[in-house]
């Protein structure tokens, strides 16, 4: 299983890895403020941040609404995000491929 022989198999294996990180590992991520957030607190400009307009969304702040178990809620949000990013990422590039210049296309 060390050498994968075709691209779809590689993509599936990669997705399994991403889903595993998103579901099993993300509940254990540090909840400390990130570098920028921490600096904004130390330098006293964190209060300039406004509430996010979509803060009430069903997956806002990486937790699935209605799931009481915190770890599960984060993990499910992660799985949804991985699926969305895969679909939209591949979809966007699929559209971009249509832009592929033909021989006569201007630069």
């Amino acid at each position: 299983m060390k050498r994968l022989t075709n691209t779809s198999r590689f993509v599936i294996a990669g997705l399994v890895v991403a889903l595993a990180f998103a579901f099993f590992v993300s509940p254990y991520a540090s909840s400390s403020p990130d570098g920028l957030e921490k600096v904004s607190q130390q330098e006293g400009f964190d209060s300039t941040a406004r509430d996010h307009a979509l803060a009430d969304g069903p997956l806002a702040d990486y937790s699935a609404r209605g799931i009481d178990n915190e770890g599960l809620s984060t993990g499910l949000a992660g799985v949804a995000g991985v699926a969305l990013c895969f679909g939209l990422g591949a979809g966007l590039v699929l559209i971009v491929r249509r832009l592929r210049p033909t021989a006569a296309a201007p630069t």
Partner: protein, 230 residues
């Protein structure tokens, strides 16, 4: 490192939005040139993997955490043009679905954590590849160093945003010093994750690593029929 609404003023955020649209359009045009079909699912996988890794905040000094930005990693895996499109997808999903990163700051964030490491970090990677030998270890090492540099570049760009349109009262020097300082540390995590990921992909499918393509250049023109036979 996601900028929320309000940190940076309206005009600067709007300018960032306009600039991001232009950059995405330029990347899309360049990515379309010679785009191989197999890169389509790989672009999706890159976005998916980076989204997952961005969720994994790791602790750095004094109650602060950091997470992978991934722009440099994306550029090494699928090239800076497709990579910057994958990164753009991640930031749009985060802002619209996960309320992470302000809506008004979306353009600023796409440039800061997407285009800056995708192109700035990748430029360092390309330079290192010219100096270092064509071995898996050297490519992984170059990936790690350029990923760290990409994060520090992003911290410098945030400082520029703050200098232009920061709404806080703190001085640019204080904010810049602190943001760059903490990202010198966060960049180490970025370097480790990027180096390990590139190394793992090189071990399983070296031909899929855009940044190592020159190692397999000779096979390229006849790659398709040869692989089909094998």
């Amino acid at each position: 490192m996601h900028i929320p609404d309000g940190f940076i003023d309206g005009p600067t955020s709007l300018a960032g939005g306009v600039a991001a649209v232009g950059l995405v359009a330029a990347s899309a045009r360049k990515a379309a040139e010679g785009l191989e079909d197999r890169r389509v699912p790989l672009a999706g996988l890159t976005a998916a993997f980076i989204f997952a890794m961005q969720m994994l905040n790791f602790p750095v000094a004094n109650g602060t955490s950091g997470h992978l930005l991934g722009g440099c990693l994306a550029a090494i895996l699928v090239g800076p043009w497709i990579g910057s499109l994958s990164m753009t997808v991640v930031f749009i999903v985060q802002a619209l679905v996960f309320a992470d990163g302000g809506l008004s700051a979306l353009g600023l964030n796409i440039i800061l954590m997407g285009f800056v490491p995708c192109f700035g970090g990748y430029a360092v990677f390309a330079l290192l590849r010219k100096i270092l030998p064509d071995t898996r270890q050297a490519v992984a090492g170059a990936s790690a160093v350029s990923a760290w540099t990409g994060v520090v570049m992003a911290a410098v760009v945030f400082t520029a945003y703050y200098a232009i349109g920061g709404t806080g009262d703190a001085s640019v020097t204080a904010v810049g010093g602190a943001v760059i300082g903490v990202h010198l540390l966060i960049g180490i995590g970025e370097a480790v994750i990027t180096g390990l990921t590139v190394s793992a992909v090189l071990a399983s499918r070296p031909d899929l690593v855009y940044g190592a393509a020159s190692m397999y250049e000779q096979q390229q023109p006849v790659a398709r029929p040869a692989q089909a036979v094998r």
